[in-house]
Symmetry: C3
């Protein structure tokens, strides 16, 4: 396994529509973004979101053992930051989302968002037009990374 197996990759896009979206109360953020991308034909894009979640499941990727650890967040939190991108995985729109949550004292929990039940969420999604952006298994990291070769 050699370092540099996945060198910097770069694709150029043009901006298409800018979507402003209010997610459904009690919906899962990840599922909602997936459905949104599917229904609007978004195959490449990037988004930010703010709002609040009723509960969530976060992931931390163990870089050594190549596995996700999951953390349940079972109480309401502000979604202080949420950013992600959309690309294709197995030919379907796939959102990759990271989040910073804040509790009633302003204290934070953060990581990869696996599940997030919406109390209120305001999303700004930028649809990009250009090369096909597809994920492919990367041996070096054990992750599905963008195939840009």
């Amino acid at each position: 396994m050699k370092v540099g197996h996945n060198p910097m990759g770069l694709f150029e896009y043009n901006a298409n529509k800018e979507l402003i979206v209010r997610l459904n109360y009690d919906a899962d953020l990840i599922q909602s973004i997936t459905e949104l991308a599917r229904s609007k034909g978004v195959e490449a894009g990037s988004f930010t979101a703010i709002g609040a979640l009723k509960r969530a499941k976060l992931g931390y990727y163990d870089q050594k053992n190549h596995e996700y650890r999951e953390m349940k967040i079972d109480s309401p939190h502000e979604m202080a930051s949420c950013m992600g991108n959309i690309s294709l995985k197995d030919g379907e729109p796939f959102p990759h989302v990271h989040v910073v949550l804040a509790d009633e004292m302003g204290n934070t929990k953060a990581g990869h968002l696996l599940e997030g039940i919406v109390f209120a969420a305001e999303v700004h999604l930028r649809q990009l037009e250009g090369p096909r952006l597809e994920r492919k298994y990367d041996e070096l990291t054990g992750l599905s990374l963008w195939n840009m070769e």
Copy 2:
């Protein structure tokens, strides 16, 4: 009060100007963004910002009792993340802003930004052109959410 009272709402916009802004030392971030939106005629938009604050006031929304709790942050912090959107509330440009602050040890406080006194702040605001984006009281959450019906 039925779940699904506020289903997913979606508006499509075209990007207009991209504004790069340096906020005034000692100004309040929320007021500055409001004035900026008003002076440039931004009625829908989204932004990110980085920099540092001299002090701040954060909010956490109590999802059960439908009220904001306020937290005073009385010391200088890095503004590690700041993202927000602009829409209309009572016919006027209204910024909705979330922030992650970091102290000298890298420890964080985060939430809804109610007030933030600027030490230095660099803003990137994207002006959007399209449907009128207006907030309206939502009974289910007790919040002013986007009216997208």
Copy 3:
């Protein structure tokens, strides 16, 4: 030293290319963004990124004594949030980057990113076309801020 020495400054840009970039394993995020900007001729821009870092160095700016304090983060973290901008400093593309990192418990460290060794990182960079955006020493803060006079 008078307050208001650096009042709000505003430049207007048009969006150019949207760059989607996968950073190189083991590369430094700051250096990678600098090289990217140089190679693509990006003199003004803004970006977000998500992924994971193997280690990092964070900065906190002491607003009173006008000096950066550095914090070494010597273990793998999720990059829960990363946002930054590109402008010119001494005539060269210069990235200003803030980050929120999360450990295996979801606990966070955040601040100004001085160095970040990439495990995996997905960047969305928006190239902006318009006025020359150059940093200049600002006496009031001791920082290199945008010269917008």
